[in-house]
Amino acid sequence: MLFRGLLAALVVVAGFFLPRLLGGGGELYSAFVLIAIFAVMAYGLDLIVSDLGEVSLCHTVFFAVGAYTTALMSTGLGSGPIMTFLGASLASLCVAALIGLITLKLREFVFSLVTYALAVVAGTLAQHWSFLGGSDGLRGIPMLALSLGNFTLAAEGDEGIWLVAYVLLLLSLWIIHSFRRSTLGQAAIMVHLNPRLAIMSGIDPARTRLQVFLLSAPVTASAGWLYAYQRAYISADVLDPYFLILMLTAVVLVGKRMLLGPIIGVALILIQERFFSMGAYVDKIILGSVLIAVLVLQPNGLQGLFARYGRQSR
């Protein structure tokens, strides 16, 4: 038991130093930071798709809420990173509560339609509302810096942000892991697998769905929070369908309910984009095709392929 704990701690520490071990440099740190941010974004969706078994198409809205709240609070109110983090989480919870209550009684695909339409509406608001900066967006987001008295911890550049990104990623992993072992996590699976039996076991499906939805929102929003600091400016393009397709692909690519699935998925996608890109439009075609291919050919994800090989080689 102790050995496993030490091993885990070692892996965690090694993970932090991974970019340095691979050579460091701005390009690499930037890739690692984005992988971490988008992985955290995907983990929020993972709760809904893998555990609840529903398709939420509005998680890009939570990402945007996190990013915009951070931008507004840091530029308009001069808030520090802790306040903006709380603000982003709270704002996303409010939006999720609103969406959750509206969609409470809707059937599964109507739920998906409504969430999709909500994302489009959010996009319109982001483009046209001057409060959100309109099509220019919000600029001048300060560097992520924590001040305690005379001591200031500042995240300079992607190398500096990497620590925050890594901690955020570990936090998200811990939340997902704890959720899956909790009563709520088990209730979500039961509602997903066999709603009638879940009811006959005393579970309230509507309440379970709402609670999981509310949990998933701040997770994705926190990714938006960090994204705002990383880019130093936020505009309506955080609601681009790219993020939705990225999240969905990352969640289904490796396999359902695998703790490291989304991060591996995001890593694979971003590695292709950054180091093996064939132009923005071809990359779109590749990403979309990967999503289609996984669902049509190997619905259990890549891990299903390895399982098959494992069985054959015995």
């Binding site: 999709y116 339409a117 979309g288 049509v296």
Partner: protein, 288 residues
């Protein structure tokens, strides 16, 4: 711009919306399938029409036919690829797969047609009619007439022909239909091809009204969604009426308030209605 002008504008928009949504409502009501790539097929066919008319110099009516063919082909290919999921009625995966298809179409269209806005000019857009001081455009006439013809033809086919009966049987009970000797796969491909063709027709007719962008597919789905839910899923007459209502609403809202928020307003109205009546307006009867 006066009230009557806006009324006309609303009627034109309404017919356009109805035509845009009818493929979806048939797909949903008849095959119980969704297609989130709908907006991108619309975009692709709009661009195809533009390309054929302005780059290849082929006459507009032929371009419409070509666009419809492209739409039908895309729909059929999509369904062929995801047939396994359709037969398993795995709605969650179907939704995500069609989203993926839409994204691929968007990338392919941008690659082939470029990412700048284009304007589709047809021999009809050049004709303006004036009655008193009301302005009609030739293209608008085409939209209204074609939409009406299409709806009437569709209703007749679905209700009165063997084809319509076949499709309704598959919608009702796929395994039972298979036992009755119906080739369910062919029906599904056919329905998806129809959806592609219908949205292609809408694209070819309606695209000339505004500049087109390869990124516009994402937003089109809202209109379709609102029309389908308001009109009642699977109801052909319902989507016609709902389309008209939405068109009039859009015209009035755009005139009296900020046009950029028209879809937002329509969506809010829809949410309000869904809150009161989670089943939409029309009674749930299989197509009428």
């Amino acid at each position: 711009m006066n009230f009557l002008q806006q009324l006309i504008n609303g009627l034109v928009l309404g017919h356009a919306y109805a035509l845009l949504a009818v493929g979806w409502t048939v797909l949903l009501g008849v095959a119980r399938l969704v297609n989130f790539g709908h907006g991108q097929i619309y975009m692709l066919c709009a661009f195809t029409t533009w390309f054929i008319v302005s780059r290849l110099g082929i006459p507009y009516p032929l371009a419409i036919v070509a666009a419809v063919a492209v739409g039908a082909a895309v729909g059929a290919i999509m369904q062929k690829i995801m047939m396994g999921l359709t037969l398993k009625q795995d709605l969650v995966r179907i939704m995500i797969v069609t989203l993926g298809f839409g994204y691929v179409l968007e990338g392919a269209a941008a690659l082939f047609f470029g990412s700048s806005a284009q304007i589709l000019e047809t021999p009809l857009t050049a004709h303006d009619f004036y009655i008193k001081d009301l302005w009609f455009n030739g293209q608008d006439f085409a939209i209204i007439i074609m939409a009406m013809v299409f709806f009437v033809a569709l209703k007749l086919i679905v209700e009165n022909t063997q084809l319509g009966r076949l499709v309704r049987m598959v919608a009702e009970d796929p395994p039972l239909a298979q036992l009755a000797g119906i080739n369910v796969r062919r029906v599904y491909i056919g329905v998806f091809a129809f959806e592609g063709a219908a949205v292609a027709l809408a694209a070819a007719l309606v695209a000339p009204r505004t500049p087109i962008l390869t990124s516009m597919g994402f937003e089109e789905v809202i209109i379709t969604f609102v029309v389908v839910v308001l009109g009642g899923i699977g109801s052909i007459a319902g989507s016609y009426v709902a389309g008209l209502l939405l068109g009039l609403f859009s015209a009035m809202f755009g005139w009296l308030a900020d046009p950029s928020y028209t879809m937002t307003a329509a969506f809010c109205v829809l949410i309000a209605i869904l809150a009161i009546r989670p089943g939409g307006f029309a009674a749930k009867r299989g197509g009428n």
